[in-house]
């Protein structure tokens, strides 16, 4: 059964387990998940469940709905996706989960003008421009990278310290090819090939991970951000 963990500024405030086909999220008390903050619209968003997927639909909210830091109007949710509505984070888990952030629509909803909200919108705008420029998913070099942007247009892109890899990373004891990023249709995964413990996704060591928009990939001392190119 799907579970949604509601967090407010990183503190878990509610865990919602549902069998319903559709749950509503908003400031109004008639919602299934009530987010009592004036940055959240009365009817902010919906999640619809069918046999195959859960779909998040933003109800033209004033301050927007974000999935993994990207502004969305309609989005198929994947396990562990982080929905940000104002200062609330809702973590979607297909079985059992956790997380939280902010809200919106002018039915008395307050326009959020916090630095965090502005930054979220600005980053979203910049990242959308980058993926538009490359016509697909990209890696952004965040720390110790040779370039600020890497286009992921190959079936397999190699990451490591060797001269011949597609994406160079730095760090002691890194393997020549530390990892590969594999593209299958629209889905990107990163797979560790080299020494153990040198690849992390969002701070957690991993051997293989499906990449989600906004994921931070650490290879040795180099940090990349994955920005998904669809939509």
């Amino acid at each position: 059964m799907p579970e949604i963990t509601v967090k407010y500024e990183d503190k878990v405030i509610e865990r919602v387990v549902t069998e319903k086909k559709r749950i509503s999220i908003g400031r109004g008390n008639d919602n299934d998940i009530v987010l009592e903050n004036r940055g959240v619209s009365r009817k902010h968003a919906l999640i619809e469940f069918n046999d195959k997927a859960a779909v998040l639909i933003d109800n033209e909210s004033l301050n927007g709905t974000f999935v993994n830091s990207r502004k969305v109007s309609e989005e198929v949710l994947r396990d562990q996706d982080i929905i940000t509505i104002g200062k609330y984070s809702l973590i979607y888990n297909t079985e059992t989960s956790q997380e939280g952030s902010d809200p919106a629509s002018y039915d008395g909803t307050m326009v959020l003008n916090t630095r965090q909200q502005k930054k979220l919108l600005e980053n979203d705008r910049i990242e959308r421009k980058i993926v538009e420029k490359y016509g697909g998913s990209v890696l952004l070099g965040m720390e110790n990278a040779d370039f600020s942007e890497y286009r992921l247009d190959r079936e397999v892109s190699t990451v490591g310290k060797a001269k011949f890899v597609h994406i160079r990373a730095k760090g002691f004891f890194l393997s020549g090819i530390q990892a590969k990023i594999v593209k299958e249709g629209q889905v990107f995964s990163i797979v560790n090939l080299g020494k153990q413990g040198k690849l992390k996704v969002n701070g957690e060591p991993t051997t293989q991970s499906v990449l989600k928009n906004g994921d931070l990939i650490t290879v040795g001392k180099t940090v990349f951000k994955f920005v998904e190119g669809k939509n």
Binding site: G160, A162, F164, K180, V191, N192, G194, K195
Partner: protein, 242 residues
């Protein structure tokens, strides 16, 4: 300096063991492997361990690249595809990590080492014709380049008029005024109608190249391949050297 040069082992532990034992007798200063440690044969993991331990350089080959899933292998022939699938299944993370540390090319003094060609090494171009050789020489900055890939021992000399001369691999004292590309043949799957394992010794002081052929226990290598249910044509070709 005296260098032992080996290539294209292709998971053939019997051939590799015999060759390394023979090289030991030659009192070389270092041993360098030009790639394709895995693919085709029944002992990819043990061959990886052995080259990692005994070779100063191990270069990436296209079969190694395919084994770690970096290179698509749909262009391989059917038997090679089947062998690659099998190799990918039997290699554990530690073996994969050994391959992940292979280099693509190496320059040592005035010597250049690569698996396929100095021209776009990671594209695995074959050097089979004079045109291929021209392209390769135009990307070679050293006087002598050693490579493998086709499993056919070959000596290619760049002539003064810019053309090239190709000969079957044999012991030579190269002209120091000319440039050479030398295919050092294959340890684990020779294809020049001589089933014995092949390797090269290069003495950079005397400026001499020797091609060595070593008998090994082909039957045992074939028996293990049969047990692993590897394609039959890959097994039979070992005794024919084709």
């Amino acid at each position: 300096m005296k260098y032992g040069l080996i290539s294209d082992i292709h998971g053939n532990l019997e051939a590799l063991t015999a060759v390394l034992r023979d090289i030991e007798k030659q009192k070389v200063d270092s041993v360098h492997c030009l790639g394709d440690v895995v693919g085709y044969g029944a002992d990819p993991a043990r061959c990886l361990k052995m080259v990692k331990k005994q070779c100063d350089t191990v270069l990436m080959g296209n079969h190694d690249y395919a084994a770690i899933g970096v290179q698509p292998y749909d262009s391989f022939n059917r038997a090679a595809q089947a062998a690659t699938e099998w190799t990918r299944q039997v290699l554990d993370d530690k073996s994969m990590a050994i391959i992940a540390d292979f280099e693509m090319e190496r320059s040592l003094d005035d010597m250049y080492l690569v698996h396929a060609s100095p021209y776009e090494p990671e594209e695995w171009h074959y050097i089979l014709t004079e045109n291929d050789a021209d392209e390769a020489f135009s990307h070679l900055s050293q006087n002598i380049g050693f490579f493998g890939h086709s499993h056919i021992p070959t000596i290619i000399q760049e002539k003064s008029d810019g053309t090239t001369r190709m000969q079957a691999g044999h012991d030579v004292s190269p002209d120091r005024e000319r440039r050479y590309l030398i295919n050092i043949g294959s340890v684990g799957q020779p294809r020049d109608n001589d089933p014995r394992a092949c390797y090269v010794i290069f003495d950079s002081d005397e400026y001499e190249i020797e091609f060595h052929r070593v008998e090994y226990d082909i039957e045992n290598a074939q028996r293990k391949m049969s047990e692993a249910r590897l394609p039959s044509n890959l097994i039979s070709r070992l005794s024919a050297g084709t």
